[in-house]
Symmetry: C2
DNA sequence: GTGATATATGCAAATATTATTATACTTGCA
DNA sequence: TGCAAGTATAATAATATTTGCATATATCAC
């Protein structure tokens, strides 16, 4: 499943911050190095993973590599992740639809 | 970060299928056991992780545990994951906004 | 060419996740 | 009370991810 791979790529504290920054605009490796408090090789490793997954890409600018967002699912996902959800989903009305269930459906939990 | 934890919970082929099924309605453990081809303890472990994260909950019905969706972010996330994105995001117009970058911005990549 | 800057890569160690197995708990029913 | 169905938990083994470090590559300025 492609979707799971995308999710796994985003589901990391460093990579989600990288993506959030890229949502604001183009950034090069040393820009990330400044505000993420990790080593340059580690930044590169995360960027390279995101690129392997096709989520971002870069262009060369002198000796800088300028990274930018590529996969359109990213802005949508990031937006949902910042959204405030106040209410829980409504609890199911009653009685499970289960092949084994002819039980009355009394909620004891 | 809470969001990363949520993403990690969803970013697994079994758990994403569990959540998709729960989107359709209530299901008990043995229901999952049937269509996911994994062992009962493994199903329980995934369910229990999802519950620890507050994404799902259950009620007792006889000796069945009937699981249901609880966190409203799930339907939104699942929807985006099934959406078709045809176009890539537009490439950035020009020239990086980088504190080091006064480079001309020629794209050599 | 030489040196400095910007970034990537390879590999091993540390850590986290997942599946498996065996066992325990709980409920309903005879 | 005792047994079976449904499910959970604990311990462990297998696997994947992440990080740190040393080193490599590429480009620019001189």
């Amino acid at each position: 499943m492609q979707r799971v791979e995308v999710l796994k790529s985003i589901a990391h504290p460093v990579r989600i911050r990288i993506l959030e920054e890229l949502l604001k605009g183009v950034k090069c490796v040393s820009d990330f190095e400044d505000f993420l408090e990790i080593s340059q090789p580690n930044v590169s490793q995360h960027l390279s993973l995101l690129r392997r997954q096709g989520l971002i890409d870069y262009y060369m600018d002198g000796r800088l590599r300028c990274y930018f967002l590529k996969d359109p699912i990213i802005p949508d996902l990031l937006e949902i992740l910042t959204k405030d959800y106040i209410e829980e989903l409504p609890a199911p009305a009653c009685c499970p639809v289960s092949k084994r269930g002819t039980y009355p459906g009394a909620r004891k939990h």
